[in-house]
Symmetry: C2
Subunit: 148 residues, 2 copies
DNA sequence: TTCTCTGCAAACGCTTTGCACGGAT
DNA sequence: ATCCGTGCAAAGCGTTTGCAGAGAA
């Protein structure tokens, strides 16, 4: 409980710093993103928060995520064309999606191209490295004959 | 004209090789992709081809692109969440999208991570490196005060 | 009061699905 | 006759828009 309140306070400071009015819904959505690094979809965020905020509208989730993204405090990932996923970690890193279990995992690769600079005289503002394959857990399950 | 026929023949051989029945529509769509390396959207392909194939349906374009993609002879790019772009060049390379003019440009970066292998014990099947920024042409226009 | 945020309902646009027709074997 | 591809129309679905009410300053 104490941790939760502290977490919300943390989100509040965060929003104040970037000049976004820290409404209750915005705070809760940002807080959710900070504490759930699983790269949730709009639907995941909405489904979780509606349990504690019964009046929450999906429109608000959309509006809020778009606002956060525009201000650069969260990132939208399109590693899969059928869904956008969000994360509050804006430090450049790569993403891996397991084709078996669907999980998206952060991968820290050091490559200068992911940061700002020039490539072939084009100015780079942002870079996304998306990897797809089979995660180590799914590989292990396979080698155990599908056992846990 | 001679070149065009040769190009279609080329596409035909291509489809036969991967075991796809080379119908007229499929041939024309593949041929379009091979000869237009601008990473077109579904709509671009449809709008261009409808001029020469008046009965063409957008459903057929969707079906065909999905079929090609499933068979691995084309790639779908989601560098921009609002549209899928297609290309027939399946050799691993990066993509740069200019936020100013919208153009998508191939970038050849040599990085082992873009090819198959292992990262943090996760098996990689495919990788996409998407870069966004301002292309060199748009930078030049800027420094000319917007002149051509 | 004034301004902003929220949330419902409707609109929107892209993509897929269902199905019947037609051409090829 | 059978199979497969095409294309129309409709459905589906995620997202955005319009707008009125609520809440904060």
């Amino acid at each position: 409980m104490v941790e939760k309140l502290a977490s919300i306070e943390n989100a509040k400071t965060f929003l104040n710093d970037v000049g976004i009015n820290p409404s209750y819904q915005r705070l809760r959505i940002l807080d959710y993103l900070i504490n759930n690094l699983c790269h949730p979809t709009v639907d995941m965020i909405y489904s979780e928060l509606i349990r504690e905020i019964p009046t929450l509208s999906k429109t608000t989730v959309y509006n809020t995520l778009n606002l956060f993204q525009k201000r650069g405090i969260i990132l939208g990932l399109t590693i899969d064309e059928s869904e956008v996923r969000y994360e509050s970690n804006v430090v450049p890193h790569a993403h891996f999606k397991c084709e078996r279990c669907g999980e998206i995992i952060d991968v820290h690769v050091c490559h200068p191209i992911l940061t700002k600079g020039f490539v072939n005289n084009h100015k780079i503002h942002e870079g996304h490295l998306y990897l797809k394959g089979v995660c180590k857990d799914c590989i292990n399950h396979d080698s155990n004959g599908g056992q846990k």
